[in-house]
Amino acid sequence: MSDSPAIVESHNAAQQHHFADMEQQRQASSLGMWLFLATEVMFFGGMFCAYLIYRYWYYPEFAAGSKTLDIRLGAINTAVLICSSLTVALSVRAAQFGKRKLLVTLLVATILLGLVFLGIKGVEWASKFEEHHVPGYSFHFEPQAPSHPNTKIDPQRIQIFFSLYFAMTGIHALHMVIGVGLFAVLTFYAWKGLYNSAYYTPIENAGLYWHFVDIIWIYLFPLLYLIDRKK
């Protein structure tokens, strides 16, 4: 610490007292978020493991189940999330330049795109409920014309595909909801002018979370929707 009392270190208002400086705080927050994302990789990874094993065992059932999913809605949703990742990346840039209005606009755009995704997901789930493709007592599956005439679809085993479908898209959707909530909070603080070129770590870290949820969907789309679309 300096001997001279005339030199006063001015703290950024956002600096917490147990950190030596803003840079240490920023690095710590960033590392913290990346580590959290690593835990999320393992969290989703358990379901990917289950998916992998059962697709290996029950490929015909997985293919048949996949065909009942609406590929257009799935592709649109994929595009929606990609657009939201763009708005997120641009919002971090807006914060870096201290452009408050642009930042708020982009955060709101991200939230809207997220809500569109959830809405489409809701539509898809509703149709699954109507078709009785929800595992459990009311499950009923009418096989469409299979790719190969000799493939028999086990009506019990195909429930596993749909179990995984609901579990994976459900938990993904839950993460989207949390993301939307997070961004709503950030929008509020951004509107109040809390973020600028010297402090935009929350935007950056929330952005990392959002991109991660997008990456999960990037894998879910082909794994769930594109198993066997050959004519």
Binding site: Q27, L35, L52, I53, R93, F97, G207, H211, I218, Y219
Partner: protein, 97 residues
């Protein structure tokens, strides 16, 4: 600011690339490539994920090596889970499911 700033042009380029790749993967699914359908689909997905990771999540531009260590560790640990579990399932006697 201490962090690297990425140009909007690059962001838009990545965005277009991601959308194009999405279209490609959906389109290729309708073509019969046998077992390669899955490989192509997963390869495209991985390419998309890498683009998001490197450019949107700034992994390419960060000065902290620890971030890359975390990402690689997470993927490696996932690989452990998948590979060693599959080691059981792929070597079970035939006729069991």
């Amino acid at each position: 600011m201490s962090e690297h700033v990425v140009s909007t042009k690059l962001y838009y380029a990545i965005w277009i690339a991601l959308l194009v790749l999405t279209g490609v993967t959906a389109g290729v699914a309708f073509i019969d490539l046998g077992p390669f359908n899955t490989i192509v689909a997963l390869t495209i997905a991985t390419l998309k994920a890498v683009l998001v990771l490197l450019f949107f999540m700034h992994l390419k531009y960060t000065s902290e090596k620890m971030t890359s260590v975390v990402v690689i560790s997470a993927l490696f640990w996932l690989l452990i889970l998948l590979a060693l579990s599959l080691a059981d399932y792929t070597t079970r006697p035939l006729g069991v499911n």
